[in-house]
Amino acid sequence: MKKSKNSFWEFFASVKLALFCFFTLAFASIAGTIIPQNETAGFYIQKFGETTAEIFRLLNIPDMYHAWWFLALLSLFSINLIVCSIDRLPTVWKMVVMDNLATKVDRLEKMSPRMRYGSTQTKSGVVTKVEEILKGAGWKPKQGEREGGTLLFAQKTPWVRFGVYIVHLSILVIFGGAIIGSLFGENGSVMAREKSIISNYFDRNTSERVPLDFEIRVDDFTLSYYDTGAPKEFRSDLTVIEGGKEILQKSIVVNDPLDYKGYTFYQASYQANDTFWITIQNQNTGAREVFLARPGVEMKWQAAGITLGIINLLQPDQLGRYRLKIWFSDGKGEPSVFWLDGKTLVSVERPDTTYAFKSEQVFSTGLQVSKDPGVWPVYIGCIMMLFGLVVAFFLSHKRIWVYIYEETGKTKLLVAGSSNKNKPNFENMFNALVEKLEDNETLQLSKE
């Protein structure tokens, strides 16, 4: 990396640039939450005046988060992340893989925490015992000869030094997922009446019709309410049909969409139509007919000589209860005029027979359609980020050296440790470890 360390490179690797990105992205985002997004051109002229609206238009403020300059800021942020990570990784890599047995003794003498001891035991006996104690405390010591003595070294979780780079990478992975989504993803919506078949949807941006290579039949839409009148559930019963065959059935609600062939269908909205299914059954013969009825339009059931129509409609109340006034004639006697209350069954006596009437309002369900192959990279990035943050904030690279040597016929010990963060915690652990050495009867240590 040495030769590329020019000022240009340093600029892109700098934390200053990162802070600049944080602040500008934050400030731009604030603007985006204050200025309403994705409104019509007229809205901005009316609210902000013509000049401001024109400036907004030039800077693409009405769709700010997709404006070229906002995307440029995000790109700058990404470049900053990449360059700074490349810039720092080699040093970190060295720290992780470095041969700590090569550490110079005079460096150990400057470390904190450190302890010095003398022992009456032989050097080799001390080495074996200390190694054993380190192993007992969960360390995996390595041994090397150094400046006439023996150096024992053990470390825990050196890789946690990569933690912050895992976080940086996670952000890039999330951005990658977002880019995949915007390049290959599809998003739109469709409104479909009950009993109808969906074979395409409308793109969100272009409003163009996009065909699906399968069909979805809307079997039913149900709207239910709590006693308070608040909506309880919007449910669409859907059947996926492909090549004329019913592939799968699923009832979707707001938080439980239908997945098929990479597409996801969400319950997004609904519409109550001024049309009704009216079911009539002749109670004597059992003959039955269903009409799709609209107020004011006359309908005929030729085979039974029946004519009927909705002559009045009381719109649904808060709980979805509506009333229909029906005019009905079977050609025998006076026509019947009566109220159908919502879905309740009503029997109507006629000279020859009795008819049972039932009605149901026809709903259309609004489905949001989306296909986003970038979702999984985004999720993987999110998991990486949380993992990386925990590693970067709360785990530390802990190192312990024990240098055992002879001086004027006596065995001496130098115990030193280092941790890249959370030093007080490490010191507690270090003290517990040296206490174990001190308390050991074979070692017979005395502080020096």
Binding site: T228, F234, N255, P257, Q267, S370, C382, L386, F393
Partner: protein, 281 residues
């Protein structure tokens, strides 16, 4: 005894405990410190029982859901998280003065929830958009983060007060506060903790949004403000890790960051329109 009574009592206990912590700090009467802790723990237990009962009551009403579904319930949970977190900090750092700067936030949250006429404390059924298991995960992660930032704001204020200490009178009011170095360390650690939970909160929100609306990020004002808050704390962490920022500057960021949290949590619902509008009731 029903949940609303228990939560009402909680408000008074937190008022009482805030008062004891403040008296302890202002009049340097360390002896009542234990009383403050005991009262706070009792408050937390009563509140936990209250939240638990509210949960049970919602099932008895046939509209069972976790008590995290509206502004009232979230304020109660916010206060609960602050006290829980504060008690952990008190236990780790063995310092009770921090309570004078943290518990009042919990009291304020409870008082606002119970007294404000805007929020109804009635248990209401969940609208379809909130009927998801992600509700608990999302609200829980966000509010643990918010609570951490509230406590960090408290220690930040504490730092700024302490930093005016000239150090010449050992018996002075400010001498009872922990040393600047310790306060700085506590603030930093709590921000780290809060940052992880805020990230988890944003992520759980994104996953939930994707399962309900088909998009994990839609630049809705609430989402955007949570990101702004995230940027503020991220810049604090970077400034500290690489440029050694600490002391007053981090203390100010802890305070400004918390203002952004308050705006994300509260301001967005009332001042800006968006998908989180049900949080306003």
């Amino acid at each position: 005894m029903d949940s609303s009574k228990l939560l009402g009592i909680t408000t008074f206990i937190y008022l009482f405990s805030s008062a004891i912590y403040l008296v302890m700090f202002i009049f340097r009467t360390k002896k009542i410190g234990m009383l403050a802790t005991v009262v706070t723990i009792i408050g937390l237990l009563v509140q936990t029982a209250g939240i638990g009962m509210r949960w049970v009551e919602s099932y008895q009403m046939g509209i069972g859901h976790a008590p995290l579904s509206n502004m009232y319930e979230s304020l109660v949970f916010f206060s609960w998280s602050i006290v829980l977190l504060y008690l952990i900090v008190e236990f780790i750092y063995k310092n009770k003065v921090i309570g004078a700067f943290a518990v009042p936030f919990a009291f304020a949250s409870m008082a606002y929830a119970s007294l404000s006429p805007e929020f109804s404390s009635a248990i209401t059924p969940l609208v379809p958009a909130l009927q998801s298991n992600w509700l608990i995960a999302h609200v829980f992660t966000c509010f643990i983060g918010y609570a951490a930032f509230a406590v960090a704001c408290g220690t930040g204020i504490m730092y700024l007060i302490k930093s005016r200490d000239t150090g010449d009178s050992p018996g002075s009011l400010l001498a009872t506060l922990p040393s600047l170095k310790v306060i700085d360390d506590i603030t930093h650690k709590i921000i780290l903790f809060g940052f992880i939970w805020l990230s988890a909160g944003i992520i759980s929100g994104a996953v939930w949004a994707n399962s309900a609306w088909g998009t994990y990020w839609s630049w809705d004002p609430k989402e955007t403000w949570s990101l702004i808050t995230w940027f503020i704390y991220a810049s604090a962490l970077h400034a500290r890790f690489t440029r050694g920022w600490g002391g007053k500057r981090i203390a100010w960021i802890a305070i400004f960051g918390f203002l952004a949290v308050i705006f994300t949590y509260y301001g967005v619902n009332f001042l800006l329109s968006g998908l989180h509008s049900y949080g306003a009731s």
